[in-house]
Amino acid sequence: MSHFVPYYLSLRLKMLYRLFRQIGILRSCILMGIAYVVLYFLYKIDNQYVVVGVFSALALSVNQCRRDRQFLQLLISRPSLLLMIEYLLLSVPFVVVSSLKGEWVQVGVMLLVVVLVPFFKKIQTEHHFTVPLPFMYRGGIDMLYSMRLVGWILPILIAGGVMGCCYDNVKIVRVCTALYMIILSISMCNPQPLVRHFSSFRQFLVMNFKMVGYNLPLLVLPMVVLLVYSENAVSMPLCLLLGGFLFALATLFVRYVISNSLFMFIHIALFVALYVTTVMSVWGGILFAIVIAIYLFGIKIKYNYIWKY
């Protein structure tokens, strides 16, 4: 095992180098710039546990997404040790940030996360039991997929919204609504976009707009009722709903244009930031509309060879 660890790490480094070479110097620099800005913000934030939270979320999501678990188990006796070393390397920038701030307890917590995460089993998102969803738009499989993937979170957020209403805390209701829209939209990023099922670009458009237009208001209705009740106004619920509609469309179309998961992740992260920061501004809507238009233009060009016949 000891002789294999350096080999494994050098191979992973080689993969990283090839990834940067493939995406080009400019985009690599942009990515590193984004990483630097994120770390700088983490350094500036006063709350001591934000760095730990961000690192834990990152490590857990990497652990959840990795597909090499069985492959490694078949080859080596203790793959968790290998993963531990990998997560330890991943933690280095976060540990440096916390060390610079003198938060040694948080450094210890992060090291604990590094040791524990490899033992976490992958959460099964697919179950044998089929959740019936008769009220959803028929034919729109992306939202069926989304509901079956994260549908269980939505009642929790609704419950959070109800609590906010009960205690007259509008902020909780707003946060729950925004989270509701974000989770619903992001989970629509079905990893296997089905283009060949649509006979034309027009049908592709009609079906996707209908799917989001029908399902989203239906699913968001409980949150809208809670918002109207707590705010005594319709402007905020309307903005959240319209912004959410555009946000959902943008996340729905992005995977048809971008196949690289890293870039897709960056795009969606930017959408989340855009949605959260500009939900009450008309600029948010305009920016989302421009992004959707660019995506649709890209989709039309990219898949023209399928649809032109």
Binding site: F4, L11, K14, M15, Q70, F71, Q73, L74, L75, H128
Partner: protein
């Protein structure tokens, strides 16, 4: 000489019973086939034998017996070449990297080993996976649907190399739906149905095996 023996294996996924009091044994230097309907539990049986899944029952094998498993769906790291993948698997298993042997086996498959493995076609991925398993020189090789997506020449060469492995004293277990292919290379074929091995075919012809399977189902 028995190389692996599974006795009274029970495996359930929630309410669904997949293996129920299943017993099977494998001897050294033989090629075994495993057939069964979709969802019969072939891969689950392999995973139990390898200790990848928890189960009730016993799986006996000597400590020094090495096992290699070829998954039905191959996994490859992105941005890693075919040669690097083979070297990775060999290093992980603690085997020596023998370039001449890699070259010899690749003469059968003619894979572009300097290209990224994730960009290979389905059949090429299968061949690469098979190659890396073969080079590990395990005492027991378990191949889950090895012929799926592989071209005719590839299948012929795979069969040839499997026979070679058997002649070297290694044991091979192959799961497949292609009875004719299995019949050609396997010494024994097990039929998995109703959560257990219903029958082991040894000398029967393909027609007899097919008829027997239809009668059992």
């Amino acid at each position: 000489m028995e190389i692996l023996k599974a006795e009274n294996i029970y495996k359930r996924f929630g309410e669904v019973a997949v293996l129920d009091d299943l017993s099977v044994s494998y001897e050294k230097g033989q090629i075994y086939g495993l057939v069964g309907e979709n969802g019969a539990g072939k891969t689950t049986l392999f995973n139990c034998m390898l200790g990848q899944l928890n189960y009730d029952g016993t799986v006996e094998r000597k400590d020094d017996v090495t096992i290699g498993f070829m998954l039905a769906e191959s996994f490859f790291y992105s941005l890693i070449t075919g040669r690097e993948h083979i070297e990775f698997c060999l290093k992980a298993k603690g085997c020596r990297i023998d370039n001449a042997e890699i070259q010899r086996i690749n003469e059968y498959f003619e894979l572009p080993l300097n290209r990224y493995a994730s960009g290979y076609s389905t059949g090429m991925k299968k061949k690469l996976d098979f190659m890396s398993l073969l080079l590990q020189k395990n005492d027991l090789m378990i191949l889950d649907e090895p012929f799926n997506g592989v071209d005719l020449k590839g299948v012929i060469n795979m069969r040839k190399l499997i026979r070679e492995a058997r002649d070297e004293g290694r044991t091979v277990i192959i799961s497949s739906h292609q009875i004719a292919s299995l019949h050609e290379i396997c010494d024994k074929i097990d039929f998995l149905c109703n959560h257990k091995i219903m029958k082991r075919f040894v000398d029967e012809s393909v027609e007899e095996i097919e008829q027997s399977i239809l009668n059992i189902i």
